[in-house]
Symmetry: none
DNA sequence: ACTAACGGGACAGCCCGTTTAT
DNA sequence: ATAAACGGGCTGTCCCGTTAGT
C-alpha cells in the first residue's frame, strides 16, 4: 500500500548521482570560465549546481579534481564540437575553417570570459602539472585536427604543398587565441571581428587557386 | 677601520624612499609575473623587497595600487624597451621586427612565466576596469609602434602597399602573444622557436623584394 | 567503567548545532558587554565559546550578524526578563517597578560593564542602522511595558491620572539609564544606590495615597 | 635685501606651535565626538587638523594623551560654558536651569553625536583609568554647580528646603544624559524635545510658589 | 617645530577540506 | 548519496607609534 519506511514527501528528492555529477561539472565549468580556477569559489559552484558540499566531495576528491574533470570532459568536448567534428566532416578545408572561425561569438559576455581553454592554460600551466598536461592534450588534438585537414587538402590539390601542416595549424591556433585575448582586453566586438577577417584572409593565402593564379599576398 | 660602536647590520637603516618604492615595484612585478595578480601574496612581495608593511602602505594605497603601478611603470617600460625603442631606431622594418621577435627568451623559466602583459590582460580585464584600461593603453601603444614602422616602410617602398598597418600590427601581436601562450603550456622551447620562425616567415611575406619577385607564399 | 580506547577528551566531539550557536551568542554577548561591539575581538569570542572560526561562520554571516543576533536575542530577552515579565505579573505598579529598580546589581563588575542595551545604543546608533533599529525596538517595547503598567494603574486609581504614561515611562528609563552611566563612570556602588533611591522616591510621587494625602513633594 | 637663508616661499608656513596644538585639539575633539576614542583614526585627526604625524607627536605623547587633553580642555570648557558659567550668573535657579536645558540642540547631527562627555564616560571608563578620573572630575564639577544653585535657591526661599542639593543635581544630570542617549538612538528631535519638557516640568516641582501653593504634582 | 619614511602587530573575513549524521 | 556542522590556515588592510632627516 505504501512505500516501506519512506515518508511520502522525502521521495521528492530523487537520488540521481549521474545528474548531480553533471550539474556540478557544468556549474564548475561556468564558474571557472568566469573567474579562473583559483578565483572560483567552491561554494559558489555548489550554489549554482544546487548541491551541497558533501555531495560534491562524494563525487570528486576536491576542487582540483573538479578542475581536471572540467578540462577532461567539458572543455575537451567543446573543442571537439567546435573544431574536430566540423573538420572531420569537411569537404573543403578552407570553407570549414573559415566557418568555424567566423562562428566565434562576439557578444560582450563572451569576450569578457575569453576562451576557456586558453584561460586555464595561462593560469594553471606553471602551477599544476595536471592541468598543464590535460590542456596540452586538448591543444595537441586540436592542432592535429587542423593539420589533418591541411594534409588532406594538400593531397587533394587544394592546399599549397610547401606548407607544413602542423606548423601552420599552430600558427592558426596562436593567432586565433591571440585575437581572443586581445578582444577580452578591449571588450570591443570590433577587435575580434577584425581579427576574424584577418585570419580568414590569411587562410585564403594558403589555398591553391584553379584559375592559374596560386600566388597571393598574405596581407 | 670600522665605525665605532655601530653594529654592522644596524648601519643599513639609511632612508631612501625612491629606492624603497623601486624595490617594491620590482618585487611586485616579479611576484605578479609568477603568480598572477590575485595569486600574489603581499607578504611575499614585502619579503622579496625587504620592506615592511608600513613602508609599503606609505608608498602605495594597497595591493591594487601596486598592481596598477606595476602596469603603468614596469610593464609599460619593458614593452617600450623591447618594441618601441628598437622600432623607433630602425632603418629596416623587417630586420627590426625580426630581431625583436627572435630575441624573445626561450628559457624554461621565461616560458613558465609567460608574457607579463598578456598574463595581466587575461586575468584582470574582466575583473577590474583599472587594469583593463591600463593594459589596453600599453597594447595600443605597442600596436601603434608596429603600425608606424609598417607605414614608414610602405612610404619607403619596402612594405607592400596594400596592407593595413594597424590591422597587420594586430595580427603580429596576436600571433606573437598566442605563441607565447602555447609555449607556456607546452613548457618546451621548441614550441616557441617554431612560432618565432613561423612569424618571421610571415613577416617576410609582407616585404617588397627588389629582385623582381615580390610575390611569395606566406606559409 | 570507562569507554574503551576512546581518549577522554576526544569524546566531546559530539555535534550540537543549537548548543554551538547558543555558546557563540553568549560569548559574544559577554565580549560585547565588556568591550563594546567594535572593541570585541572575534577570536576572543571564539575562544570564550570554545568554537572555531569555521563553525562561527557557519552559524553567522560575520561579526555584524552576531552583533545583531545578540541584540535580537540576548539583550531583548534580558530586558523582557527584567522588566516586561515582572510588570506583566504585577498587581501593584509601584511595588513592581521599585523592586525591579532595586534589584539592579551594584557589584563593581556590573557597574563597569554598564547596561548592555545602553552601551550598544550609544556606540552603534550613529554607525549602523541595523543596530539602531534593533535597539530602538527593544527600547520601545520596554517603554510600552512601563507605560502599560502606568495606564493600568490609572484605571485602578493607583496612579495619578494626569500623568502621560508613555512620557513618564521615558522619564523613568532616561533617569535609570542615566544613573547606570554615572555609576559606570564613578565605579562606586554608592552612586548607583543613591540613584536607585532617588528614582524610587520619584515613583512614589506618582502614586495616589488612600490616606487622603495624594500630594507630595517629588524631591 | 633678502631674508637670511630663508627662501621666500618657505616663509609661508609659519611655525606656530600654540596654533598647531589648538588645531589638533579641536580636530581630535570632533573626531572623538563622532567616532568615539577608539574609533577615531589618528590620521583622520591629522588630516582634519592639517598637521602631520610628527607635529602631533611633538605636542602629544600619543593618542591617549590627546584624548586626555580633549577631556581636560575641550570638554571641560564646553561643560563650564554650558552649565557652570550661566549658573554662576543666575538670579533664578529655575530660569537658568530651564534655559540651559532648552538650549540643547535638537539638530539631527547633534542627536547623532550625542553628548561628548557621556560618550567618553561610557566608552572609556572601564578601559582607562585616566579617562575615567578625568570625566569623573568634570562630572563632579558639573554636579557641584547645579547643587550650588539649588543650595543658594534654598537659602533664598526659592527651592524646596527638603531637597538634597547634590542628590537632586545628580538626578537632573542622570535624566538629562539619559534623554540625550535615547534621542541618539531614536534620531528623532521629538524624543529629545519631549525629554526637555519633562525635565523642565520636573524642575518646576522643586520650586517654592509664592502664591501659597508650594505643593505640586511632579508628573 | 615639523615632515615623511618606516616598523610591525592585530584582526575580520574568505575559503578549502573533513567529519558526523542521516 | 547527501546534508549540515565544523576545523583552521591564510591574507589584505588598518592603524598606532617611531625614527631619520630638515
Amino acid at each position: 500500500m505504501y512505500a516501506k519506511g519512506q515518508p511520502a514527501e522525502a521521495r521528492r528528492r530523487v537520488r540521481n548521482p549521474a545528474r548531480t555529477r553533471e550539474r556540478l561539472l557544468r556549474a564548475a565549468f561556468e564558474e571557472i570560465h568566469r573567474s579562473g580556477f583559483r578565483g572560483s569559489d567552491v561554494e559558489a559552484i555548489l550554489e549554482r549546481a544546487g548541491v551541497t558540499k558533501g555531495a560534491m566531495y562524494h563525487h570528486f576528491a576536491g576542487k582540483q579534481a573538479i578542475g581536471y574533470a572540467v578540462v577532461d570532459e567539458a572543455i575537451a568536448q567543446l573543442t571537439r564540437a567546435k573544431w574536430q567534428d566540423p573538420l572531420a566532416r569537411a569537404t573543403d578545408p578552407f570553407a570549414a575553417l573559415i566557418e568555424i572561425i567566423e562562428r566565434t561569438s562576439r557578444d560582450l559576455a563572451d569576450l569578457d570570459r575569453g576562451c576557456p581553454l586558453n584561460n586555464l592554460m595561462q593560469e594553471m600551466s606553471p602551477l599544476d602539472e595536471g592541468f598543464r598536461a590535460r590542456t596540452a592534450k586538448i591543444l595537441a588534438d586540436w592542432r592535429d585536427a587542423i593539420a589533418a585537414v591541411f594534409r588532406w587538402g594538400q593531397a587533394q590539390g587544394l592546399v599549397k604543398p610547401d606548407l607544413d601542416p602542423e606548423d601552420e595549424a599552430m600558427f592558426v591556433i596562436a593567432a586565433y587565441e591571440g585575437y581572443i585575448s586581445l578582444a577580452k582586453n578591449s571588450r570591443d566586438p570590433a577587435t575580434l571581428e577584425a581579427g576574424q577577417r584577418r585570419l580568414v584572409r590569411h587562410l585564403e593565402t594558403l589555398r591553391i587557386r584553379n584559375d592559374g593564379r596560386d600566388r597571393d599576398v598574405d596581407a
